[in-house]
Amino acid sequence: MQQDLSILVVEADPDKARQIIDALKDGGWTQVQALAQISGLERAIRRHEPDIVLIDMANPDRDTLEHISLVSDAKSRTVAMFVDQTDEDLTQAAVNAGVSAYVVDGLQMTRIKPVIETAIMRFQMMRKMQSELDAAKRALEDRKTLDRAKGILMRQRNLSEDAAYQLMRKTAMDQGRRVIDVAQALVTAADLLS
């Protein structure tokens, strides 16, 4: 198989970097390197001579990479951002997944595309996992806030747990707000007054 491409992944989060590398290695690419610190980018490009550099679109260091790609001299390998005007679907898919790619001059599209598709799939998966993780964390936070608010009402108003919850629910309904927002306001106010 013609998969002897050198790929550099710029990613500060070691866990994410490992996931992307694993996905690429599973896809049959063996020369995959990760770079955590953008300050070493120029050196890394000279050392690994990557055919493709992958970077998260949300990574602010992209502007550093762009500049290097625009000023790198003929002796070093020039990489340019991957935008395929003939395959806008792929470009859009990459943007939606949040991955951007820089490829070495003259590399064939047939060799670039599988790498980008693999990266897109992995980025989509990581994004989904991240949003699930965020949702779980938020649910846990909300639960803690609700419990604290209930506790405050139970102490201050001498209510049962159930009555405390019903009071918050009624207040929320009357004011057209969510129960968690009422609980949050109560906790904030209690913190300020204590």
Binding site: M57, P60, R62, H67, V83
Partner: protein, 380 residues
């Protein structure tokens, strides 16, 4: 009336203020618009999102639409500047270490600084700028022509990380937009040397940009957006509003910065070094005064020329600064319009009254620090 929602991209800088104020103070709503302000992590990301249609309009570094329209850089696309969103507003500074090597220097003197570097034995600097296609880099290259003994490595650093880059020694100097220069001073890692306005008196720094085909397809949206930004910028540049502007910007979820970091750019009172007295810089940053919004075709030409554009490219660049739309969309609400759409860049060493539709336009001094002038002979 239901407001039309426009997705607008911006980068967290003080000069994104016209977009934020337009939304927060209701200038957009007055035009029947709701601006969905979407902060972008980098200029590259903002460019991609605008070019691919995820954003309708965006704050952009003034050289970006020119470069994209001329096919320079990573993402060629037909992008136009509807109007200038901020004039000036950048600073050049050095690390504490370089400042100590230099000894006492006068703030705001781009003429003398090359000699001060030479006398102190500083012959090489790694200089951070925000982006390749940025006025910062063009002004740096322009200023560097007067510092022949100084060699420079330019490194692109995202503005919010500039102070870190100075602190950890990745760069020796920086050319950056506010508040990030003041942030470096505040952290006592850097010292300001001069401002962008002291190199070019009237440099278009940010523009309001959109895709050419979107502009053609949605003339009504374009008209409303331009008016909303115009009114927001007018409000911002009114002296009595400035304290409130600082407060709104600091409080808004969009910038998330301390008021003391936002204040210098809005008021023009800069603190060049930690503990130093504030210095007032005339025209440090303009949103509205002196027809700051007007997208002079000659400004686009200057940018294209600095980017190494051919005569043909310079002519093409002029077309993407849309003074035609400015006249059309703002003239009808009584905004004063200059008689010409091009000027000799750098020719005005002080405020100058020029012919205009309402007869009272006074342009700000636009001289370059070395007195050069640029004329891009017009056929349009």
């Amino acid at each position: 009336m239901t407001d039309s929602i426009l997705n607008c991209g911006y980068v967290a800088l003080v000069d994104s203020a016209p977009l934020i104020i337009a939304q927060e103070l209701g200038f957009a709503a007055e035009e029947g618009l709701a601006l969905n302000l979407i902060q972008q992590p980098s200029w590259s990301a903002l460019r991609d999102m605008l070019a691919l249609g995820h954003l309708d309009a965006a704050q952009m570094l003034s050289p970006m639409p020119v470069a994209m329209s001329l096919g320079m850089g990573s993402f060629p696309a037909e992008i136009d500047a509807l109007m200038v969103m901020a004039v000036n507003g950048t600073v050049f500074g050095v690390s504490k270490k370089i400042a100590d090597t230099l000894g006492p220097v006068t703030f705001g003197d781009p003429h003398s600084l090359p000699l001060a570097f030479a006398n102190a034995g500083v012959d090489h600097l790694r200089i951070g700028v925000p982006f390749h296609f940025a006025m910062h880099r063009l002004l740096l290259a322009y200023w560097q022509q007067s510092a022949l003994d100084l060699s420079v490595d330019v490194i692109a650093i995202p503005p919010p990380r500039m102070a870190d880059a100075v602190a950890d020694g990745r760069v020796d100097a920086f050319w950056v937009g506010e508040p990030w220069g003041s942030a470096a001073v505040h952290r006592d890692v850097g010292q300001l040397m001069f401002t962008g306005s002291q190199v070019w008196g009237f440099a278009p720094e940010k523009v309001l940009a959109a895709r050419r085909n979107w502009i053609d397809e949605k003339p009504e949206m374009v008209r409303r957006l331009m008016r909303a930004i115009y009114h927001a910028a007018h409000w911002l540049d009114t002296r009595k509003n400035k304290p409130l502007a600082v407060e709104i910007l600091a409080r808004s979820e969009h910038l998330n910065l301390a008021p003391e970091l936002i204040d210098p750019a809005i008021t023009g009172h800069l603190i060049p070094a930690r503990g130093a007295a504030p210095v007032h810089v005339e025209k440090f940053q303009l949103f509205h005064r002196h027809a700051a919004h007007f997208p002079w075709r000659s400004q686009a030409a200057w940018i294209a020329a600095q980017l190494g554009g051919t005569e043909k490219e310079i002519a093409a660049a002029k077309q993407c600064f849309r003074s035609d739309l400015y006249r059309q969309n703002l003239g009808s609400i009584g905004v004063d319009l200059p008689g010409a759409s091009e000027k000799v860049e750098g020719a005005m060493s002080h405020e100058t009254a020029v012919a205009s539709s309402r007869g009272h336009m006074i342009l700000g001094a636009d001289a370059f620090f070395d007195g050069r002038t640029f004329e891009f002979t017009a056929s349009v």
